[in-house]
Amino acid sequence: MAQVPPQKQQAGTKPAVDETVHHESHTKRVPPKGIRDLNLTSMLDVCFQLLIFFILTASFAKGEGFLAADLPLGQGTPNKDTPEQPININVLVEGNTGFRLTTNISRAQRPASVRALFRELKSRRGSTYDHDNPIIIKPDGQVRWDHVVNVYNACVRAKYSNINFSEAN
């Protein structure tokens, strides 16, 4: 299609009027009146308040679990048919917060740690002792509960089921 060169404007004449028809949409996209000015400021304020509250109150607490213990109620009569040799584990206080262990297990009377005690109990379960052989944990009165529970946990871990606590020494 041949292009028509633009006509030069002559002096004293009016500029040529662009007669091209530009199509304008009659329907301008204007949002409805109610939606146009949605003020989120107060909502954002509330959200920030909530956020600050939850940040301040959030406590990333460590999970807790329980070690089940069935303690004797002190009722009934002792069974004399099968006399069992209970395993005694003494938890003795050492220093201010430390502890040491002694047992009546032959050749393992002074386990160096709770882990060593666990290994000893585990190795003897089934051979020397049954799983329901009574274990009596005998802590000193001044031993921390932490250490007593650690010993109890080692007994549970070694799959013994009849574990008892004695009165404080």
Partner: protein, 160 residues
């Protein structure tokens, strides 16, 4: 010539994406928040090696807390003496050496549980610092109430 001044159009911030982020954060904190209940006062349970503890689920239980005393110099910290500050069972506070009160309270709860045909379990939640001489009478008081099943509460992971 009179120039018509246009009024400046108000600046509008698009807050949509900001709101999205804020909502995400709120949902996150709602989900992770562990609201401390009156049943579980602040204390640090023992943390044994390789804990064999089970996760505390829904059981008919009563929680006996043995809370150490606070330091006099700094009340935000617990005393390391191994003594007991107070016993807390739910919202009840029991002073040390008032073990008969504890026994009576557990007996009452046990009766309620028996009426419902359920077995009451007692969760013993003691701070790790407490000396055994202070924990053992509590265990004795629980057993005297006719409850033999005591659950020792421990942490499931290492203490910091």
């Amino acid at each position: 010539m009179k120039t018509k001044r246009r009024e400046p159009s108000p600046i509008q911030l698009n807050m949509t994406s900001m709101m999205d982020i804020v909502f995400q954060l709120i949902i996150f904190f709602i989900l992770v928040t562990n609201f401390t209940t009156a049943e579980l006062p602040e204390l640090v349970p023992p943390a044994p090696e390789e804990p064999q503890a089970e996760i505390t689920g829904k059981r008919k239980r009563i929680v006996v807390n043995i809370v150490p005393p606070r330091k006099q110099s700094d009340t935000s910290k617990f005393d390391e003496s191994g003594d007991v500050g107070e016993l807390r069972v739910g919202i009840s506070r029991i002073k040390t050496n008032e073990y008969e009160k504890l026994t009576a309270l557990i007996e009452k709860e046990k009766k309620f549980a028996d009426d419902e045909g359920k077995k009451l379990e007692v969760d013993l939640r003691s701070d790790f610092r407490i000396h055994y001489v202070n924990v053992q009478p509590v265990m004795k008081a629980i057993v005297q109430a006719g409850v033999s099943k005591i659950n020792v509460i421990t942490l499931m992971e290492k203490r910091n």
